[in-house]
């Protein structure tokens, strides 16, 4: 049984169709990436899955129908959305940001343990706990956003453009971390414009074009396919 199963999902903003009739599924423990150009509907799909938008069609998570369920309920079930543009609370300290990641949890011992493991995964964050999150660099903010999402103990992590606006070297670091998180057992749905990196790290990929699925398959195969190379990899 797949961990997430999306069937015939459509989302419209008023009369404009942003996403039309897309279906895909993610198996436990894998990374699936949604790639595509600007306006292809990647973020919309992600928001529809996490309950921030009301879609038609159906979304099943862990065997339950979660179509249109509120994000705060989904988070408690283990579906955590790390929003686009990092969405950190810039006027709060780094520590306060992390604590908000544990907002729905009450297992203090385990939270403490998880915090420690975040510091191992992101040593830079530990150095800046008392600093306002807005004063962090772009890469650090992205790491904070990921750490904060991980503190909610996701079974499935939705990552929206984690490489957005980062220097190439930091992009490498972030993707290395994404792989590490995945190896620790977190299933990941990754939305990316950086198709090159996304196809390297993901197991499966879905290519979106103007709101519908253009191609789908194992990431390594898509990376070799001529159509994808021309359209998204520029070679």
């Amino acid at each position: 049984m797949p961990l997430l199963k999306v069937e015939n999902l459509s989302v419209r903003y008023g009369s404009i169709r942003a996403v039309t009739d897309i279906s895909f599924s993610i198996e436990q423990g894998e990374i699936l990436t949604l790639i595509g150009a600007n306006g292809a509907g990647k973020t919309t799909t992600l928001r529809a899955v996490s309950g921030m938008l009301k879609p038609t069609g159906s979304v099943h998570f862990n065997g339950h129908n979660i179509t249109g369920t509120r994000p705060d309920i989904l988070l408690r079930q283990g579906l955590v959305h790390c929003p686009e543009g990092r969405g950190i609370f810039s006027n709060m300290t780094v520590l306060e940001n992390l604590e908000l990641g544990t907002f729905t949890r009450h297992d203090n011992e385990q939270i403490h343990h998880d915090m420690q493991s975040m510091f191992t995964l992101f040593p830079r964050i530990k150095e800046r706990l008392k600093q306002n999150a807005g004063t962090l660099s772009g890469g650090e903010q992205q790491m904070l956003a990921i750490a904060r999402a991980l503190l909610a103990r996701p079974k499935l992590l939705l990552l929206d453009e984690p490489s957005l606006g980062l220097a190439p070297q930091l992009v490498q670091t972030i993707f290395k971390i994404i792989r590490e998180i995945n190896e620790q057992g977190v299933t990941i749905l990754l939305v990316e414009q950086n198709a090159h990196m996304a196809l390297q790290v993901a197991h499966h990929a879905v290519v979106l074009e103007t709101g519908s699925i253009a191609m789908t398959g194992p990431a390594s195969e898509l990376a070799k396919s001529d159509a994808v190379r021309k359209a998204y990899l520029g070679c």
């Binding site: 921030m52 994000p71 705060d72 988070l75 609370f89 306060e96 908000l100 990641g101 403490h112 510091f119």
Partner: protein, 371 residues
Amino acid sequence: MPSALDATTNAQLRRPNLPLITLPWLACALLGLAMLMLGRFLGSYQETLMQQVGIFAIAAVSLNIVNGLAGQFSMGHAGFMAVGAYVAAATTYYGSLLHFNTAELQPGLFNFGHVLMLIGLLAGALVAAALGYLVGLPSLRLRGDYLAIVTLGFGEIVRVLLQQTSPQVNGKDPAEIAAFTDAPLRTLARIPLNGALGFEGVPAYATNLWIWTFVGITCLAAYRIKESSSGRAFLSIREDEIAARAMGINLTKYKVRAFVLAAFFAGIAGGLLAHAGVTTSPIDAGFQRSFEIIIVVVLGGLGSISGAVLAAIVFVLLPQVLHPIKDYRLVIFALLLISMMLLRPKGLFGVREIWNILPRRAAHTKPGATP
């Protein structure tokens, strides 16, 4: 090695002890007590000023919950205050007529009149909180300016409705009192709140002791709210709604909760005002009063409780201090507000509290002192 690493992070992770948590509360109660003792030395003018400061402080601290912490711009706070004021005024006034057969102030430190006032305060606060729930609901769909207009409209609706109420029972006319005590419910069904003239003759039980005790209670409650998980949720909604939702915060629940809590304490402030020896009139629900409270909150710093109290003191006392320069005082007052906004755009304290700032200042100056 790992244990040393853990020790430092543990120290950073540990929550600071709730700093001086009872101090503001104690300070306020002591201030009230001192004023009770010094009442005969202070003129009634100073006493009235201190009452106003206290009531403004409660109003500002309560507005701060919704405007400051949760970032939902409410411009109808005076409406909640007026609702609390009228419910409390009516409770004490008509309760006194029934129980004492007169609305005169009953002598003594604590008697049934005070009980009536407390019942009235609670009832007013609860009614205001219920209205806060209703006003809070649209805040889910409305943002910024639009929410401000809705809440502004709420205050105006309260004001207009209060103007339509029927004349109150004259507490100086034995015949009217007798008619009222014979059939109290029939009279009350007419909603005798005295319309546009304003509700008069409520016995002034709310001395500075009472008012400042409530300032203390309100500040303590607000502080606990700010430091609670609700407070964190409020602040995160103010910062970024999408990120807050992504962190599992139920926007509906917390936005409405902020409105309800703010309205509750606004109701208390209004109830105290009604018992401070002034006429409670529909104008008190109007936008002018709402703006005054907003000014105090912005002046103190959105999110700062001690800032709101300090700003309330400044806001009430400054025009009095500037009194000698007559007509120009409002000009000076406005100029002071403008320069304040230019020099400290985040208000006196920003989101922090006075006790968070003072030690930080001390820590900053220390290395400079020993070069």
